[in-house]
Amino acid sequence: MINVTETINPPVTLPDSTAPHSHRTEDSMKQLSTRLLACCLAIAAVPILNPKVVLAEPVSPIRTDQSAGDTVLPAPPISSRYAADSAKEVPDFQKHVMPLLGRLGCNGRACHGSFQGRGDFQLSLFGYDFSADHQALMAENTGRVDVDDVDESLILAKPTDADMHEGGKRFEKGQWQYRVLRNWIAAGAAFKQGQTQSLEKLEIQPAEIRFATDADQVSLTVIAHWADGSVEDVTPLCRFSSNDDSIAAIDETGLVRSGDTGDTHVIVYYDNAVAPVPVLQPLSPSKFDAQQSVADTTPTQPIDVLIQQKLDKLGITPSGLCTDAAFVRRAALDITGVLPSTERVEAFLADNATDKREQLINELLESPAYAAWWATRLSDWTGNNAEQLNNVLPVRNVGTKLWFQWLRSRLENNTPYDQIIEGIVTANTRQTDESYLDYCREMTLACNGDLDRFAQRDGMPLFWSRRNFQKPEERAIGFAYTFLGVRIECAQCHKHPFDQWSKQDFDDFSKLFAPIRSGNANQVSPESKETRDELMEKLTGGKKLNGGELRRAIYKAAETGVVVPFGELYVNTRGISDKAKKQRAAAKKKGNKLPPVRVPTGKILGIEQELELSEDPRPALMDWLRDESNPYFAKAIVNRVWSNYFGIGIVDPTDDMNLANPPSNAALLDHLAVEFIRHDFDLKWLHREITLSDAYQRSAATNASNALDRTNFARHIPRRLPAEVVFDMVALATGSTEKANQLRSELDEMAIADGKPRQRNQSNFALDVFGQSIRETNCDCDRSDAPSLLQSIYLRNDFEMYKRIADRDGWVAEACKDLGVAAPNAGQDPKANAKQRAADALRKQLVNRIKQFAKQPAARQDKQREKAEQQFDKATQRIADEFNVPTFASLVADPNSWNELEPVTSNKRRAKNGNADPASDKPGLERIVDQAYLRTLCRYPDDSESEIAMTYINESDSPSDGIEGLMWALVNTKEFIISH
């Protein structure tokens, strides 16, 4: 029995969705062609179009002569229109003939879609190259289409197997397919060259399928709405596929059959549209016992409301919230990549404040490690790779550091995401009004170690200089990967099988990148040439040096601070390539007459209007990216950030947003993207919103309903921590308190802060084994979070691990000292030292931020003053008990006035320090075991664990052997290496 119910939710209303947006350009939205919107609408339209009707069966054919009031009734399916021998209709090449050939499999890779064709007959792979396909069909002397002797046409004879066909019989002579092709040929086999018709919307009924049992089935009906106003049932012309046929199998006619419980999508393909239809089958109601983790709160935040709606449909109950110990570890590792200190864990556990999780999140977001860790992630996505930057700068091994620092300083200042990206996309090598000489001077200083000098520059042109980012096609692919989370490379050779992009779209998009020249250290804009030659002359003393000698001479000069020439990014807006220019000059010399120069053009993805390349196309690209109607830009980053916190994206893989790979929760992704834009691309807002949700704070413990779910955010799913995080965790857990605190506060040696920068051809062994991103192939899979045997071997038995655990500067040595005769404290308390260092780092950070603030125009300052002051006050709260803090206003007036920390000597402080350490009265060894647990697993051991550990230490040859063994065991637990 068919049991399909319409399960469309009204759009979720979220508070304040009408706030005005200040800086979005109005008309750039209009530019978005109907074509792009058509395909997006095809999806968006799915839940809206048909709010009430339940359509479990195909709509019965409606004849075109029936009157239909206001709505245009769709023409009945082609299979019924051509059912009778007497059918006289002439089909359309784009709307009917090519889709039919596609449906029959003719243009598939195995058949005529192959790049060499088959039987000398080649069609464009997956279609949509109509003129090439028409040409191939009409090719003279092939007999494929014979308008004079229609029935002898091979496209009729072959698929009916009247003429031997390697691909076998595709249809019978009397069938509708035959008549469609025959009528088209008989009417002259027409195709209007250069007039691709545009499909406005693909409507699918039902828009969403909910199965009740594993024995249900339902047929899809697909209605095409064309821009010319015609509407047609095209079900027999579509191709169908399922994203998981164990849940929903779909056959070639669009009949969907139910299987396992769970949710997935079936995908419909027609013309250039690819449209997913959600299918789900809920679990039968679950029974829970006391062992299982079950949520007991009603969702209130938008994220949780939207997740709950999906879970309700599936019959899944989420797990309860995680413990404080799990939270402090999880939040610190996910937000900053840094394992929290023993002191921080203990303070958090002892804190009774009801909003302590929120406070912790805020604290973490304000810490320098946040900026460092996310600069590492942004470096992954933007492709910061030493190998690819080789010889781009005249100073070696500094490119990746400049890149990292540029990102880091912006994250530290919480520069809006779109502005960060603008600095990359529209990057120029010179600042506005900066001379070439000044530019070289600044860059020489920056490359000699003054990384901040580079970070303060507006643009980050290194992105454009990478060796694997030079050809226009490479740039099109890399640009789409980094900023859109889209893989368009398929369209480089043929129609994208899972998205609307045609080869033409790809080519038009690629052309935009052709005028941008960058990456060659010797290339400068024409106006800088003279100055460059002078600098070079000075360097070489006029001697002629070969390539290698010259490079070495420049390296050497730069090292000693001599200003050396740098390459420039410049945009060739003369509308003509250098090569063409030379040819023209040569032709002119010969006295040939020259045709006028044609200015090349390109197109932004999905935008019909051509962009003339007589000026730098990048500002227009940037306007398009940050426009609120851009379907990818905000979603791509929101989804990547989400994936960091949940181990799986809402769209997954995170770099593969396409129409056939829809989000597991579209409403959730839409909400986050829309709000992110409304909050002016505020990254910290995004992090806060996500980490404050119940969804993020759920326990890893499961219940009967969610144990097998991995895609709907109903519990915490343990994942192996990222390479850099693991690397640092080991150093922090095994290092002495002083060493660990120094690492945490200075960050310089931490892998999450680019402290182990990769140089050409060499990477750190452990980071490599744990799958650090190679940042090379435009793929988020360049990073691997999968475990491996080699990783286990490393943690158990690598000499680095033994050295760390037994190090003189390690925690085991420190613990031994604590246990033995108390070593005289040499006047300095390492904890106080560390605190001071951390506070000083904060001071520097704040001063920097205020300098940035003070640099802005007065009007902008006024606008931001209140927020900036609040942030300042909040940040300084943490150190105000211990140190004197100037007021915001005085600091803005003179940012340099706060150049060192002055300790407070008040009673307040003493009172605060009077709080007894809750564990300090424990006997020595027990306290050591506690410490070992806190610094690795961020929790106290339970009684039995404590007992086991102490017995082990007591039975060891010496306490130091015992403590070493305990530390070794703890860093080798699963609990250490995974998130929980």
């Binding site: 890779r109 893989p653 413990a701 045997l789 490393y794 637990t973």
Partner: protein
């Protein structure tokens, strides 16, 4: 380490496909069952070496030459005779020509997936990729069906393997060496030897402490590939560390120089030597990669100067070496790329290149019950497709498993409880073993 990059740049390492919530099984339909296993001769091999040629090697320039094809297709290489009368291969594979009696060339192997990743998934599993789940690599299946002793890895990949364990779970992943051995130099996988100062007894004590303390996630393990995999790797790491067997097996410098030299001095040849040592020491499955076959441009000079000499020396060394050690009869060898290359030469570079071409390709098989010195299958006049019915990757996979004594119709429950036939559509090629 430099990995060979293919033109579409895809190397998805963490593909985990999920969606279904079902734990119980459902009845299987639609999968073809193979003919009863009793109809074919039993396999002999106890272990296997799988040589992957990622990028897709040209068939018409290597093992399926067409000297009479038009200039648009034939290419610049000439055929030479082998030590088996009537069989000819490329002039740039002279060493393999002299041991043709030890292996079989499969010609006219044919499929339809022309993207690197999809093609690799196909030829490395024997089942056409489907979106809902990922099939396991041969290495993973052999690790599961024929586990090695604890102190030696089930499977090793030198330096990496392109196919993961799929739904069988991370625990069946091979040990990836991440590095390749060099001629005459000691080779060791870092971390498998005990460093000075730590005794075996101490390691054992620590491990027993770890076993007692590592309990927090026990209840989640059965449903979680990650936790289960970590557990498995931990146990195995311990076994390997506490035994000398693994590190002895990895150290190719222990081989006599004259023996090592017949593999050639390139890293690929030495990786083959390592593979031989490893299987001799009890590793069940070794994957060796030789990349660089994605010759869209400059097809001929790349093959002649680089790829073919490496393949020729390494593979002939391996086959000869296996025989010298008496291992050939118990070691199944399978060599394949993900597809062939267009027989028609393109004009993308001065000398021309060849593009992806799954419709016609070659594969090589040797060892175990395979009778060397044959060509099975045939391509048409221009190597554009099989002359008769083509051989499918499924057939070759079924034969490979059969050679290893593993029933290719074996059924597994996937991680979601769905029953999956090991090789869906393959038939054992009896002629291989005849």
């Amino acid at each position: 380490m430099k990995l060979h990059k293919t033109c579409d740049g895809l190397r998805r390492r963490d593909l985990l496909k999920v969606g279904t919530l079902a734990a119980g099984g459902l009845t299987l339909s639609g999968y073809n069952r193979l003919a009863a296993a009793g109809q074919v001769a039993p396999g002999h091999a106890q272990r296997a070496i799988f040589i992957e040629l990622p990028g897709g090697p040209s068939h018409i320039d290597t093992f399926d030459l067409k000297p009479d094809a038009p200039d648009t297709h034939r290419g610049t290489f000439n055929p030479i005779s082998t030590n088996v009368p009537g069989i000819q291969i490329s002039e740039h594979l002279p060493k393999l020509a002299s041991c043709m009696d030890k292996f079989v060339i499969l010609r006219g192997v044919s499929h339809t997936l022309a993207a690197h990743r999809l093609g690799q998934e196909y030829v490395n599993t024997g089942s056409k990729p489907i979106p809902a789940l990922e099939y396991p690599s041969y290495a993973a299946v052999v690790s599961k069906e024929r586990p090695s002793d604890r102190d030696i890895p089930n499977a090793v990949a030198v330096p990496k393997a392109s196919q993961g364990p799929g739904f069988l779970g991370i625990r069946y992943s091979p040990l990836e060496t991440n590095a390749q051995p060099n001629f005459g130099q000691t080779f060791n996988v870092r971390g498998i030897s005990l460093p000075g100062g730590i005794g075996i007894d101490e390691v054992k004590r620590r491990q027993s402490l770890l076993n007692k303390l590592d309990r927090r996630f026990t209840s989640l393990e059965k449903n979680d590939q990650l936790l289960d995999g970590l557990d498995q790797f931990g146990q195995q790491a311990y076994s390997m560390i506490t035994s000398s067997r693994a590190r002895e097996a990895f150290d190719i410098s222990k081989e006599p120089e004259s023996f090592a030299r017949q593999f050639g001095e390139e890293s690929f040849g030495q990786s083959c030597l390592l593979a031989l040592r490893l299987v001799e020491s009890g590793v069940r499955f070794v994957t060796v990669q030789l990349g660089g076959w994605d010759t869209h441009t400059d097809n001929f000079s790349k093959l002649k100067d680089n790829n073919l000499p490496k393949l020729d020396a390494g593979l002939s060394g391996l086959l000869t070496g296996l025989q010298q050690r008496g291992l050939l009869e118990s070691t199944a060898v399978y060599v394949t790329g993900e597809f062939g290359r267009t027989p028609k030469i393109n004009s993308r570079s001065s000398e021309g290149g060849r593009d992806h071409y799954p419709r016609c390709m070659f594969m090589l098989m040797a060892g175990g019950g395979v009778r060397g010195g044959q060509v099975i299958g045939e391509s048409d006049d221009t190597a554009s497709g099989p002359r008769h019915e083509g051989i499918s990757p499924d057939d070759v996979a079924a034969s490979f498993y059969h050679n290893l004594g593993i029933d290719p119709t074996l059924e597994y429950d996937s991680n979601t409880g769905r029953p999956i036939t090991l090789v869906r559509d393959g038939n054992v090629i009896n002629q291989l073993f005849a």
